[in-house]
Amino acid sequence: MDVRRGFLLATPSPAVLAIPAVTPMPPVVRLRNFTRRFGDTTVIEELDLDIAAGEFIALLGRSGSGKTTLLRTLAGLDDARGHDITVPNSRAVVFQDARLLPWKKVWRNVALGLKGAGIRERAERALAEVELDHRQDAWPLTLSGGEAQRTALARALVREPQLLLLDEPFAALDALTRYRMHDLVLALWRKHRPAVLLVTHDVDEAIALADRILVLDGGRIIASERIEVARGERAGIAQRLRDTLLGHLGAGRPARDGVVPLRAQA
């Protein structure tokens, strides 16, 4: 894990979509010329995407922009045969709705599909990391929204994924819980260093969390913004970046008009 972090610091690649000519380490996710059609509708068109190990990417896009399809493909939920796609074997998804199995206790949900010895201990450790060790024997339907989402996060992290896919995981939470979850996700990301793809509607969330922000529109990546400023010191660039991103998302409308409808969608 530390090796990867060193690599990231050493090569703060300014490259946007293009892959650097010589990469010391291959990206964990690599899509080339990826197109997905359902019937006559092209959902994703000729998309190229690289995600470096340990990189935190936020993916913005309006409804119907292809975000979900891209995420499903990376999660291995859609058949990807015949496409030029590289994704790590160890990957995990946190969905907007926690999707816990209500008939399994919290720790068994976290342990779902784990193989080998010490499964209970691994689940307990993961739950402790999201500060839920006291709820491990609870039934999922008795959890609050935030607790359920933290359980889902523990269920993803216990697999020690190289790629963590977050599908609007904070959208259904109240504001205070959401900010706590932001901090928790960042802390866990710093500790475990998976590559993260966070799908979100929330431009501010993307600015606060990501190394790189991608804007998906009509199945294409229409913008990519790398943020070099450290997290926590981004207040200064936030306004300009927000305007730029909203401009992309508004698809031609004046940037400042985009704010309200975007917020309402989440």
Binding site: A75, G76, L77, R91, A92, V93, F95, D97, R99, L101, P102, W103, K104, L112, G113, W139, P140, L141, T142, R155, R159
Partner: protein
């Protein structure tokens, strides 16, 4: 006609005394009518004489032995019926080709009232135990089958997606997600089957029974013993209640993960 969960409204634990008022009043009027001769013995025996007969039949062993025979028929019929319903529901629910093979047959079967099959069953199996058990079995297949099948097909696809994203194999998916998710529907089907089994028992035992509750009733009819008939009606009712109680116990054990909040979705 699909899986309708007709659950009786749960009586609150604080059953108020007023709920007992009208049944008790009816019993008193009935007793009064019998004592004063308004209701003749041949029409309907008095509650007190029904109670005496009941106790007498229990002490003499007449009721327990015949009840055991009837109980055996229900258990055997349910065993075959529910067993077949579960197997067919699994086949139909878990595989597309199974659905194509099984479901049309089950829909055809559903359209035939089981009672109307009794002449055919008598021709095939005679008037012995086989026909009675076959009638109960045949009638109880469908509720279990349909509810299990639709329960499996109705599993939240988002849960299946989530489980698949964590690399569960098809077998693990069935074991950890699909079957537990279909369990509430299966239990609903089981409850239907149990109440149907009691109804079918009554009908089946009209066919030349030489033992069992139906035999008692038929004999009592011949001798116009309305007290014995009422005793048997009470026993049938208790059987139905017992069946319902049994499923509730199973439900409370198996669905312990459900929060006990009324109206929760």
């Amino acid at each position: 006609m699909t899986a309708i969960a007709l659950q009786a409204p749960r009586l609150s634990t604080r059953v108020t005394a007023s709920r007992w008022f009208s049944p008790v009043l009816l019993l008193l009027l009935w007793e009064l009518g019998a004592r004063t001769g308004v209701i003749p013995e041949r029409t309907l025996a008095a509650p007190s004489s029904v109670l005496t007969t009941l106790l007498g039949m229990i002490v003499s062993g007449e009721l327990p032995s015949n009840l055991l025979v009837s109980f055996g028929r229900v258990v055997a019929g349910l065993g075959f019926g529910v067993g077949a319903g579960i197997i067919l529901g699994l086949v139909s629910g878990l595989s597309k080709s199974g659905e194509v093979a099984v479901d049309p047959l089950m829909q055809i079967k559903r359209s035939i009232p089981v009672v109307a099959l009794s002449p055919l069953f008598i021709v095939w199996f005679g008037i012995g135990e086989t026909t009675k058990i076959a009638l109960i079995a045949f009638a109880t297949v469908f509720p279990v089958y349909l509810n299990l099948y639709s329960g499996i097909r109705g599993v939240d696809p988002r849960l299946i997606d989530a489980a698949r994203s964590f690399g569960l194999s098809q077998r693990e998916l069935i074991q950890h997600v699909i079957l537990p998710a279909a369990l509430p529907s299966l239990l609903t089907g089981l409850r239907f089957s149990l109440s149907i089994s009691v109804i079918m028992l009554v009908i089946a035992e009209q066919i030349n029974a030489s033992a069992g509750l139906g035999y008692l009733i038929n004999n009592a009819r011949d001798f116009m013993r309305t007290d014995i008939i009422v005793v048997c009606l009470i026993v049938y009712a208790l059987l139905g209640l017992g069946a319902d109680w049994l499923v509730r116990i199973v439900e409370n054990r198996a669905l312990i993960w459900r929060p006990s909040i009324v109206g929760h979705n």
